[in-house]
């Protein structure tokens, strides 16, 4: 259950950014998780909900977008989507080492509320 330690790191980033932007509440956190990352979205959400209780992010929704695995073939100089976990170029059959996407574990943005009046800046 390493999702717990990933959730912990995520929580720390959310708190830090929350302070920076003076958020009083965080409603939505958007994440990109690569299809190859060893992360189960449900486990991450569960862990995050547990950790964030009684914080500005309590009850926040994790919106998780899965990023497909894409690799670059140096021989054909093309990008190809890796399907069914076969890391071989569909054109020339060469092994694909240069993984362009699919390992993401990123926070993209957060939506929340500041204590300020609307339009106050």
């Amino acid at each position: 259950m390493h999702e717990l330690s990933i959730a912990q790191s995520l929580f720390e980033i959310v708190l830090e950014e929350g302070r920076r932007y003076r958020l009083e509440r965080v409603n939505t956190i958007r994440l990109q998780i690569g299809a190859l990352a060893a992360v189960v979205p449900e486990a991450l959400t569960f862990s995050f909900n547990m950790i964030s209780e009684n914080s500005i992010a309590s009850g926040a929704l994790l919106e998780i977008e899965t990023v497909p695995v894409v690799a670059h073939c140096p021989k054909c100089d093309v990008l190809c989507e890796v399907e069914n976990l076969v890391f071989l170029c569909p054109e020339c059959g060469e092994p694909l080492f240069d993984i362009v996407s699919g390992r993401e574990l990123s926070i993209i943005d957060i939506e929340g509320e500041t204590g300020e009046e609307d339009g106050a800046g």
Binding site: I13, A37, A38
Partner: protein, 227 residues
């Protein structure tokens, strides 16, 4: 109340990545070759370390960091061979991280060490996601685990430079098609070095020792080139 959306775009594990990069810098400064050894529980990590120490000691100075969920005797098994070893108990945690390695390094004398081996917690999923600063990830898969494994643990196979297929002495007794394992591993990672070994009989270990010694010497020559 003002509703706001703030862009962040940060790697969630950046704190660990930073620590791993610091560890790596320390390893490189000291000219130490480091690999992170991963497998399911019981696949043979400690057995491989014992074999490797027996073979290389006298020629290569080694140190070991042992990760385990709870107290175990792995570090003692290594110390009995006259190699310095430190045990990290993750206390339930399913993987080692950069910070644990940093702490463990403080209780090792790395001054004259050429090779540092980190035995990760027995688990094929989680350790793959946490860099420790190692030069290579090495994984062990044992033939008793069945030939479907590679597809269930793609990241582990994808990120490991070396795949050791262990317990081949048991092949006559288990339902595991080695050519299937090799094919699937090649699809996941065509650049992976594959060694078929038995830590029980010693079969197949020689090419692994040669590969490893090559890696250690390569680091050493970079160190002396700088000195």
């Amino acid at each position: 109340m003002a509703q706001v959306k703030v862009p962040i775009v940060r790697n969630i594990l950046q704190a660990n990545e930073r620590l791993a990069a610091e560890n790596r810098r320390r390893f490189d400064e000291a000219g130490i070759y480091v690999f992170n050894l991963m497998s399911s529980p019981g696949a043979g990590k400690t057995s491989l370390l014992e074999r490797t120490i027996d073979h290389l000691s006298g020629r290569i100075k080694m140190a070991v960091i042992e990760g385990d969920i709870q107290t175990s005797y792995d570090a003692e098994r290594i110390q009995q061979k006259g190699v310095q070893a430190v045990q990290i108990n993750t206390d339930g945690g399913c993987h080692l991280d950069g910070n644990m390695i940093q702490q463990a390094m403080d209780s090792l004398d790395l001054a004259h060490v050429d090779l540092l081996i980190i035995e990760n917690v027995g688990n094929l999923v989680c350790p793959a996601e946490f860099n420790l600063g190692e030069h290579d990830k090495v994984m062990i898969f044992s033939v008793t685990e069945g030939d479907e494994k590679p597809l269930k643990y793609p990241l582990m196979f994808q990120t490991s430079s070396v795949l050791l297929i262990n317990k081949i002495d048991l092949l006559p007794y288990v339902d595991c098609d080695l050519s299937k394992v090799r094919d699937r591993a090649r699809q996941l990672n065509g650049g992976q070095e594959v060694f078929e070994i038995s830590c029980r009989t010693g079969e197949g270990l020689e090419p692994w020792f040669v590969w490893l010694e090559g890696k250690v010497r390569e680091r050493q020559s970079r160190r002396s080139a700088r000195a």
